[in-house]
Symmetry: C2
Subunit: 337 residues, 2 copies
């Protein structure tokens, strides 16, 4: 077999079959995938299933702390977890540019396999397309995920109310600033590392410990914490106050953001979760999150407040001033995930 | 709002929200999608769910009989149907190249909405990414689908046995030759029309009429009927004989294929299904398929035979000769779906 991807690898014929049988399926060995049906049969114990999807177009493909394969698994798995679902199965769909080195593809597929194993999720179906050189950028990955309800999870915007506390499960901006530093070829990039990881342990710890007192969870990916907090504010029709002094931000991330003129709150995270929890269970929830490896640096960063006029997110600065945290415009960081 | 897609439309901020809220969600209005959760909650009545995915990279985006949006819905819905599942919900994930005309996107989204409505399937979750100009080719779409078992469907390679008959639900090669003629700017293109459509009526008619006598179904997309028949032959460990004289092929498709040097059996279909049914129910199954609009031109094209040596698919030619129908290499038609 060629050492580069050719268009015929996506043609649905012998070369496609070879790619799938030799490079893809063996890495994700499980009977459901191996059945090679038009659809995968998965077992759902509950009558409600959770379903999500994301495409990944991150550039560069490999970065400190991860790569597009790892991201494609944890990104989708995390969307299930924060919705209060345990991931059962994911799909893996590849769009590959003609000429991609087979070694690069293999490395990405290895990474997908490791992340899927870590997340305890099976890859049960997939698709492989190829496009001519110049019609894509190396490889794009789509994963969709199916999960079932986590026992005790009762999450919705509607359940959020004034007084609730906001926990973030660790340092902000790590993923976005890592990608940006790679792209800019910046000197400080060695200090930066993507947080790309599953938030399973944190989400489960929070829900197991505090049950229905956990009101809402969301992973602050594209658009960062600023987007997530604004979405909560608008959808739950509440104001939000967060405190600058307690935001967990690494010095290297803050330095890189300052140098490039970014607001860390607008920078993507790929292994963090924002949790809204009732005030009286906040300390207990924080303790549970901190007891997990992924959530060791969790912090209570703010409070849900009664809405005055339009829903608004405000940052209480270190010197006691107030600054509106706006919904970012979106220009910040293309192809961050 | 700009009349072209900008990178910021995929940035996860305000412009992303505008695109999603104004252009995407209203077209697919349903409460599950509108909840805008990280995952969609869908109702599954059975303990087995069916799960599938496909990415669509077809070029050109619009062709006689369809477009990438229609294809993305029916392609995934058909993968559920041929597996013996009724589609419940699909996801819609877009990778858009910066600079795509908003009107083009809107037209594709309209087409997605019409096809989804026709297929009776809800779009419950999605994702929108943008990439810089030159890093994709206008738009790529991924859909994943979840379905639940069609009553009475008992489909698997294992159930296929010598004597079973092979039905195809209509003319072969329409989709692939249409795309190819567009791409080649050929004069005869007006005679060609993609068969892009749901195979729901045919699959349901077959299963409702013949139940477990329907052994297996598959839609002969990329790689055409040649790929599907070879997959059946290998996976069920049987030989297959098909008869050239009874293959439903339109004159215009055959003419275009002859002119361009293609074998129609290797050309993609997007609204057809190959059905393996027990010999004694074959006539009844054919009648049921023909009673549907999509399957009006269904034909019994061949027979499952005892395997002699390696599993093989053979074509009995009009003059009684035998030709091996090989698994295509895959070079035939890039970006056909």
């Amino acid at each position: 077999m060629s050492k580069k991807i050719m268009l015929a690898h996506g043609g649905g014929g012998r070369l496609s079959a070879e790619l799938i049988d030799k490079h893809i399926v063996p890495r994700f060995a499980n009977p459901i995938l191996e059945a090679m049906g038009d659809s995968a049969k998965i077992q759902i114990e509950d009558k409600v299933a959770f379903f999500t999807t994301d495409s990944y177009v991150v550039k560069p493909l490999f970065f400190n702390g991860g790569d597009i394969g790892k991201l494609a698994v944890y990104g989708t798995v995390n969307d299930l977890l924060v919705a209060g679902a345990n991931p059962i199965a994911i799909s893996l769909s590849l769009i590959i540019e003609e000429g991609l080195e087979m070694d690069v593809l293999d490395k990405i597929l290895d990474s997908v396999a490791i992340a899927a194993k870590d997340a305890g999720v099976k890859i049960v179906c997939g698709d492989t397309k190829t496009v001519d050189a110049g019609s894509a950028d190396e490889i794009f990955i789509n994963t969709a995920g199916v999960g079932e309800k986590m026992a005790g999870a009762e999450l919705s915007f509607d359940r959020i109310c004034p007084g609730d506390k906001i926990i973030v499960s660790g340092s902000l901006g790590d993923h976005g600033m890592t990608i940006m530093s790679h792209r800019e070829g910046m000197k400080f990039e060695s200090d930066l590392k993507s947080d790309c990881a599953s938030v399973a342990s944190v989400c489960k710890a929070a829900v197991e410990t505090c049950g229905a007192d956990v009101k809402f969870m969301r992973d602050p990916t594209r658009g960062g914490a600023a987007t997530t907090l604004n979405e909560i504010s608008v959808s739950a029709s509440v104001d939000i106050e967060i405190e600058e002094a307690v935001l967990p931000i690494k010095d290297s991330v803050q330095a890189a953001a300052d140098m490039l003129g970014f607001d860390v709150l607008e920078i993507a995270n790929e292994g963090k979760v924002v949790i809204v929890v009732s005030a009286d269970k906040a300390a207990k929830c924080l303790e549970a999150c901190r007891a997990t490896q992924a959530g060791a640096e969790s912090a209570i960063i703010g409070t849900i407040c009664e809405k005055n006029d339009e829903p608004i997110v405000e940052l209480i600065t270190r010197i006691g001033g107030r600054r509106v945290v706006q919904m970012p415009y979106g220009r910040e960081l293309p192809r961050i995930c």
